[in-house]
């Protein structure tokens, strides 16, 4: 079992190697190599999770066995294990469900490069989860940005390039702020390893450098919230999600945005300490923007005519939930936020991939009027969209419901002003969610009589493939599992957060 401590490093290196190899393979070997890699990653991450549960604590892997102040460290606890398992599962299912679309949308000679991007993306996600070194985190944030821009641009048309450039620009503004924040943090503390930074913060910084420290926290928070599309910085998100192929949208929405939030939680918890963050008042600002995102994201979503764009705006609202949870400032709020990372990741990737199936049978469009009756034409996609919509709205037995309950619980422990604001915002946001998701759902299950004839032929041509059905079945099972066995997941998150810092 001791051998499991090597798994975090193995999985990151394996991703990087596979990414390089995929770039010279033909499309089919590249595809199968990626599937093998993701399966292996799932096994390795499960190994890490099992080992951390067994030793009931976290372990540190020192790169090259160099000691603490100079070496580079990976650190894994229960939460990292759960996150790695979750990232591998969602990545695998998203790529599997969107496979047909990847082969249709991407230029034939460049399909292997799409799988290269998937491998590199996976390496950056895992590295952001495991790393204990703040500069390594910065490097992998940039790798994540580049691969995500690539995933947006794969369609190869003008719109995709434009969205990709827009995404890159916003993202680079974010990483510029993050970089200067990290630089300042290094200057005042003199360390790059997150745990050492915390020691330095506790001994010197907090007494002598309160003002620079507020600026550092603000810079890092703003940088990472631009990258994870918190409300006023969300403008790149809908374009990027709409312009790309279905797998890319699912990955961008469920994984890429979440990796930055994980990094932010890690910096808050492990490097700076929650008490210091609370003292500076940055969490109140996050809270306000989170609440605004919850409401405005949903309002923008209602105004959309295109279901894919609507789902993208819904992501803005859900990111608002997560930031709101971080902003509450108590333990329960962060647990709820971390649970919502899982809940939203599992659900949103399912909604996006189900839209892929719906698009096929609606004349390659996801406009509201085009998808009328698509739930009858592609039953698998229709059912998965319905499950996703139920979860996002907050019907019991689905993960979205559990996270809403958790947020309300966390609100009850917060002060009275915050409690009222959260409960009101939750209520408004739920109603708005209902409005737009049920509108789409009703359109999906509206019987169409006159157009049925001409669409019949199209339906016969686009029977959902076995892989798609399997992926969607796993998605539905995963969601129902996350909704019904939420106690177990929350217990794991609690355990993980205590050993996180």
């Amino acid at each position: 079992m001791e051998f499991c401590t090597n798994f975090p490093m193995f999985s990151i290196i394996a991703c990087l190697m596979c990414g390089v190899v995929c770039s010279v393979l033909k499309k089919n070997p590249a595809r199968y190599l990626t599937y093998t890699l993701l399966t292996v990653l799932l096994i390795l991450s499960s190994g890490v999770l099992a080992y951390t549960l067994k030793i009931d604590g976290c372990f540190i892997y020192r790169m090259g066995h160099f000691g603490a102040p100079f070496g580079n460290e990976l650190r894994a606890g229960v939460l990292e294990g759960v996150l790695a398992v979750f990232f591998s599962v969602i990545m695998f299912l998203s790529v599997l469900a969107g496979e047909k679309h990847i082969f249709e949308d991407v230029e034939d000679s460049k399909i292997n490069l799409y799988y290269t991007l998937i491998c590199l993306m996976m390496s950056s996600l895992l590295a952001l989860t495991y790393t204990n070194d703040i500069f390594t985190a910065y490097v992998f944030v940039e790798i994540n940005t580049i691969t995500a821009a690539g995933l947006v641009a794969v369609m190869g048309n003008g719109r995709a390039y434009f969205s990709s450039v827009k995404y890159m620009i916003m993202s680079l503004l974010g990483s510029g702020l993050l970089l200067i924040g990290i630089t300042l943090l290094y200057d005042v503390t003199g360390h790059l390893l997150l745990s050492d930074i915390k020691n330095a913060v506790n001994t010197i910084v907090i007494k002598e450098y309160t003002e620079p420290f507020t600026i550092i926290i603000a810079l890092i928070t703003i940088g990472l919230s631009i990258k994870s599309a918190l409300f006023p910085f969300h403008s790149w998100l809908p374009d990027a999600h709409t312009a790309s192929t279905i797998s890319s949208s699912a990955i961008l929405s469920s994984l890429v945005l979440k990796a930055y939030i994980v990094l932010l939680i890690k910096i808050f918890y492990r490097a700076i300490g929650r008490e210091v963050v609370l003292e500076t008042g940055v969490n109140d600002i996050i809270f306000v923007f989170g609440i605004m995102a919850m409401i405005f994201g949903s309002v923008f979503a209602i105004a959309q005519k295109d279901v894919k764009r609507m789902t993208a705006y819904s992501s803005v609202a859900q990111i608002g939930y997560i930031f709101m949870g971080l902003g509450i400032g108590n333990e329960a709020g962060i647990v709820a936020a971390v649970f919502h990372i899982f809940a939203h990741g599992a659900t949103k990737s399912m909604i996006f991939t189900s839209l892929g199936g719906i698009k096929e049978v609606s004349g390659h469009s996801t406009k509201l009027e085009a998808i009328k009756g698509a739930g009858f034409r592609n039953k698998v996609a229709g059912v998965s969209f319905a499950v996703g919509a139920f979860s996002m709205v907050g019907i019991p037995f689905f993960p979205g419901f559990v996270s809403k309950i958790n947020f309300a619980d966390a609100a009850a422990e917060a002060g009275s002003t915050k409690m009222i604001v959260i409960l009101v915002a939750l209520a408004i946001s739920t109603v708005l969610n209902c409005l737009y998701f049920f509108r789409a759902l009703i359109a999906l299950y509206t019987p169409v009589s006159n157009a049925a004839g001409e669409l019949k032929e199209e339906v016969d041509n686009t029977r959902p493939t076995l892989k798609y059905i399997m992926a969607m079945a796993f998605f539905i099972a995963f969601n129902i599992f996350a909704g019904t066995f939420s106690d177990m997941i929350i217990k794991l998150i609690n355990k993980g957060l205590t050993m996180f810092s």
């Binding site: 490097v139 003008g158 719109r159 434009f162 890159m168 503004l173 970089l179 630089t183």
Partner: protein
């Protein structure tokens, strides 16, 4: 007055770095021309590297490369910021390359480098 001059001269590099960061950030954010945006990006990144290098440098000391036997620690500067600058330069070069590649593609497609003109063309096509 003397105090102000002392303050500025002792924080000269940091001050210049922050001003450059501001210039780069606003250019990247607000300028409509894609090439100038990329220039802004490079100014922004370089300013951070100037800041890092200035923080790692101590006047009168030399680079920690041991040529003639080990001398005492006090004669060397802190090498870590320099290493970070090198890593950072690699990162910003690759980001710049990706941005330039995307810009070339956009120029082939729309024959302009202005973001707002491209946006208008896309809006027109979308309708």
């Amino acid at each position: 007055m003397q105090a102000v001059i002392d303050y500025i001269s002792s924080n000269l590099f940091e001050g210049v770095a922050i001003i450059l960061f501001g210039i780069g950030f606003t250019t990247l954010f607000l300028h409509p021309n894609l090439i100038k945006k990329i220039m802004g990006l490079n100014i922004m990144d370089s300013s951070v590297y100037l800041f890092l290098a200035a923080k790692g440098y101590v006047f009168g000391r030399k680079a920690p490369i041991v040529v003639d036997g080990i001398t005492e620690m006090e004669s060397y500067i802190n090498p870590i910021p320099t290493g970070l600058v090198l890593t950072g330069i690699v990162v910003s070069v690759s980001v710049t390359a990706v941005m330039l590649a995307l810009t070339i593609r956009l120029y082939w497609r729309y024959h302009t480098l202005e973001m707002d003109e491209i946006m208008q063309i896309i809006r027109k096509e979308g309708k």
